[in-house]
Amino acid sequence: MRREIPLILTAIVGITFFIQFFVPHSPMRELSETFSDWYSIISAFAIWLGGLNLMKISFEKVYKKDKDWFFAVTTIVSFFLILIVGLFFSGGRQYLEQGSGYDWLYRNIYSPLSATMFALLAFFVASASYRAFRARNAQATVLLLAAFIVMAGRTPFGDWITIYLPEGWRLSNLSNVIMNYFNVAGQRAIMIGISLGIVSTSLRIILGIERSHLGGE
């Protein structure tokens, strides 16, 4: 029950999607569309599981008066605020429309918080690069130069420091060459490697050889 049924379910769903690609006709097409919807429905429950788990942990923190329990209260209040507004006070299915309560919360709370959180990374990336980018060997030097050319070439500063070169031969052009050719070649090798890895891992999962998603048994 605990292992066999999940293994069978994984195999059935995986094989259906696989066969559907080669036999895009009834009943495989309908079956794969059904499983695709199942995926969406279960994903929604998974997101709710995450939210409820967050609430469970936060309520426990408040109940036990753990360190910083006040911030758990903030998490609970903000979770329920957007939930109640989004479900009951945003016009139902039109919840995303401009002017709805959900949209207001998105524009004035969620969006500034997430954008600033990611913007902060600019500072941490800068300090990390100071440590990582020291030209200790030839390979690190190449990485450093590529990063510098791409960063400088995407700003007016890049063309300004190469202003003595003819137009069309400045750092922005070199940046284009690195992005469009050297970078693409490396990315392509990585992508081909990743796709082979995904194909083999997917086969292992469907055939039941890889079982780490069932708790590593």
């Binding site: 049924i5 999607f17 199942w38 069309g168 070649a185 990585i190």
Partner: protein, 251 residues
């Protein structure tokens, strides 16, 4: 200065998160905890309307039954004697509830069933799509002539047009025509050789792999530079919001 409450709230949260640059402080912790709660709630609401309502309640006909949706669903079809594949969405609902049982440690193992559907569909779908889009199409784009004759021929036309404006042909246009394909083929092949671990990286094979490392290093450097630039752009966006939308210093 803005008089909108929403703008002041957004400015407060922007400054609160940015205050982490000084040090970890209560204001940052407050904003961080709001972010955690709001993010979880945001996705819960979005997926409730987009996935649960649209794909389960509507397709089953439950929304129609309660007069919340004009179209009939699988349950109405079944009672009329017509088979509707969407009836199977009841099973997805049951699997979804099984997923929620993860919250109760004693019966949490039941969540493996819906999880196996998610893992199985991802595996089945990605096996084909990645093989097509990342493997076959990337190989197809790599198997090209060493020199791009079309672009080489275009160079003279570009040169004529540029010389009329008193400008020279850009460096990247020359590179694309004469060396572009060569670099793409050579870089991809050497990069792949580096990723081939079934043979010891020695002799010619080892030297080729070493060239591959240099290509990969350029790729990592370029990706890093690009990521930094995108983060910088976000930072500029937030600063612009503070100085323009909120304070009104910049027009």
């Amino acid at each position: 200065m803005s008089s909108e409450f929403g703008v002041w709230l957004a400015a407060f949260f922007t400054i609160g998160i940015a205050s982490f640059l000084y040090k970890d402080n209560p204001l940052y912790k407050f904003c961080e905890s709001v972010f955690v709660g709001i993010s979880a709630g945001y996705w819960a609401v979005a997926l409730f309307w987009e996935n649960l309502i649209a794909k389960m309640f509507d397709s089953l006909g439950i929304s129609y039954f309660f007069g919340l949706w004009p179209e009939k669903g699988a349950l109405q079809d079944i009672f009329s004697g017509v088979w509707n594949w969407n009836l199977l969405h009841i099973l997805a609902g049951i699997l979804g509830i099984m997923m929620l049982l993860r919250l109760f440690p004693k019966i949490g193992w039941i969540a493996r069933w819906p999880l196996s559907v998610i893992v199985g569909s991802t595996a089945g779908l990605w096996m084909i799509t990645y093989f097509q889009s990342n493997f076959l199409s990337q190989l197809q784009k790599t198997v090209v002539p060493l020199f791009d004759i079309g672009r080489i021929n275009e160079l003279s036309e570009i040169g004529a047009a540029m010389s009329e404006q008193g400008r020279a042909i850009p460096f990247d246009a020359y590179f694309a025509a004469y060396l572009g394909n060569l670099i793409l083929i050579f870089g991809t092949l050497t990069g792949l050789v580096y990723f081939y671990f079934s043979k010891e990286h020695k002799g010619v094979f080892g030297k080729t792999a070493k060239v591959g490392i240099y290509f990969l290093m350029i790729t990592f450097g370029a990706s890093f530079g690009y990521t930094v630039m995108s983060r910088m752009s976000l930072l500029i966006g937030r600063l612009y919001f503070l100085f323009s939308t909120w304070l009104g210093f910049v027009n």
